[in-house]
Symmetry: C2
Subunit: 386 residues, 2 copies
């Protein structure tokens, strides 16, 4: 895949040209075309967005408005979804594929989807997301987490299904509130980490438990990551427990996360705590960002646009300066790429040509204004244009 992209800006600099050869960035500056040529109109070039935490199998994207009935507790929301998903024919490839199309149009190149696995569903959600991803092959890279949304130890049969999912090629094993929801933090985490250790897959846990309880569970995750040599292969989604604890304890946790290269993935949802991105950066701990649920039975919000989500993250973090806002964008790009263990991700010579153009002069401006994406390129090929 060859491409010459003329007149684009990198990080607020003067316009330049980008040469793509065989799907990779081959150079910057004046070059002769040996393939298609595009004029970037002076727009900003940013690396493909990474949605490191979403739920493609749950979305009602493309359907008429569904008034929300989710209830007020985590347990209410889980049972509401289990009751109503059949009404909408979920899981199904159609809404997931429609949402992926919106994500691609908004510049997302990589997606990690948490997909419900339970005895009622079996692996049908996993299959539906695989089919949706197959429909967009070459336009976006999708990986999955086999996610025990309805409980792991409290829902007999689920653990075996997670293992089957991983054996069938699912890239990561998931978990949910080992204490608050599943009631046996040690048993829950040992079971998940055992699958990861035996199969060599990644671990990506949902952790909504807050304050001291959530913080203690983060400690348990760090301990197991270290004991099993899984450094760099573990992520914790939401991770509200990193907030609302004493500074000294937070510092210790960040140090442990950095040492074990564990990612905290946030979507800056509702009024829930947002991980301290600036402190994480200072501590060397990785942060990623995802859309979480998009227009589903859990909540009606979301549009699949990771720049809009990044704006929410920056806004909720009270970031005002450009370098601060760029911290949030880092989570939605390089931080996500690290969580997904992507190779050759970025805008250097030799990196995969996964990027997009947006009408802004500066990265922070792109986050705040998040205008439509002019051009989206994946592997050197144009996959969306507006």
């Amino acid at each position: 895949m060859n491409l010459l992209l003329r007149n684009v800006r990198l990080g607020g600099g003067d316009p330049t040209d980008v040469l793509v050869r065989d799907g990779r960035i081959a150079g910057f500056g004046p070059a002769d075309a040996d393939g298609p040529v595009e004029d970037g109109g002076g727009a900003l070039l940013l690396p493909g967005l990474v949605d490191a935490h979403c739920h493609l199998d749950k979305t009602l994207w493309g359907l008429p408005w569904v008034p929300n009935t989710s209830g007020s507790t985590l347990a209410d929301r889980i049972s509401n979804e289990q009751r109503r998903r059949k009404e909408f024919g979920l899981p199904s490839p159609e809404p997931a594929a429609a949402l992926l199309d919106a994500m691609i149009a908004n510049g997302t190149s990589f997606v990690r989807a948490h997909t419900d696995v339970d005895p009622e569903l079996g692996l049908s959600g996993i299959e539906a997301v695989r089919e949706a991803a197959a429909r967009h092959r070459g336009r976006v890279t999708v990986e999955q987490v086999a996610f025990p949304q309805g409980g792991l130890l409290t829902r007999p049969g689920t653990l075996e299904l997670l293992e089957r999912a991983v054996a069938s090629g699912v890239e990561n094993v998931g978990g949910i509130d080992p204490a608050g929801y599943d009631r046996d933090p040690r048993g829950h985490l040992d079971a998940i980490f055992d699958i990861a250790a035996r199969h060599g897959c990644g671990v990506d846990l949902h952790l909504h438990d807050e304050g001291p309880l959530g913080a203690w569970e983060i400690e348990l995750v760090i301990e197991r990551t270290k004991a099993l040599g899984l450094a760099g292969k573990v992520a914790i989604g939401h991770a509200f427990g990193i907030c609302g604890i004493p500074d000294a304890q937070q510092d210790r946790l960040l140090e442990g996360l950095a040492e074990q290269r564990i990612t905290l993935t946030t979507a800056a949802v509702y009024d829930r705590p947002v991980p301290p991105l600036a402190k994480m950066r200072a501590a060397g701990a990785n942060a990623a960002c995802g859309n979480d649920g998009i227009r589903d039975l859990w909540g009606p919000y979301g549009d699949g646009d990771m720049l809009t989500r990044t704006m929410h993250l920056a806004y909720r973090s009270s970031f005002r300066t450009d370098p601060e806002i760029e911290l949030a964008l880092h989570a939605a790009t390089y931080g996500g790429a690290k969580a997904l263990r992507l190779k050759d991700y970025g805008l250097k010579i030799g990196d995969h040509a996964d990027f997009f153009l947006v009408a802004a002069r500066y990265p922070a401006e792109a986050v705040v204004s998040h205008p439509p994406r002019r051009l989206v390129v994946k592997g050197g090929a144009i996959v969306s244009r507006r």
Copy 2:
């Protein structure tokens, strides 16, 4: 101003027609046109949005991106703005008028603008906003608050300027953190309420002080409103102090606010506390919504769209069901109208024909999706179309 609007929906119902005569809603259902006819395409009709708290005089709208340098405290932000506003020729009618144009295009019919008044500026900000509003006469109704951003008692000469502003026709007198910033809550509030009592104008205070301090200042405002017979003429912006206090105290405050018909106006900014809209509704206390600062020296966020702002308010309130999300929309419409003491506001026969059309089936959907506004009508005239 006559208009026949065919094929529009009200609150999720079946399509109907709306007849406008002499700038007011004259009827619903089949009617003969005696003026222009518009096809609404089945879009949702909502009453004109009310931005009950914004800062037209500060905006950099329409200028190239300005990296933020505001600092981390309220005092830092005030001094940063005072230092840099000249650099951008502020206050000036141009950016304010450009922003008003964006607000109108997004369905805003009424705006209450807090305008800085201090000895350096005199009333030049007030004049700039008046000029900006005059350029959009008939498209939007703008009223002002003479706002002592730089301090009232701590900035000698400001109090006299506020009085001059009100005497010149400014509709409201403002204040800022009587305790936290101006250091003399009793003196500050007495001075402001004295102006209001003598001139018959409204009062609209900025109150960022949090927890028990802010709550105590809210009490002081309730006491003065009652003592001076200003019920229905007072608003408190931000009012973070209504949160982070014991429930019983919050209940007492809400009761006092309801009794004195004092509005709390929120913009759901950054990570700051959001007033409890559902509890306020139950207590009969009025809530309004505004954009606050839009692309200015305080922060780079905002686009002037009150539906987007309403989404932020609903999202930060963790509202998921349609009736909950409609609470946020109520603040951005009827709640704002009450704060601004508008007469004949709404979608009943006889009300002023101030409304807009948006491609959604339900009000909650309009808030969550906030698509472009198809048609905006003010006083029966079409003032924007997309």
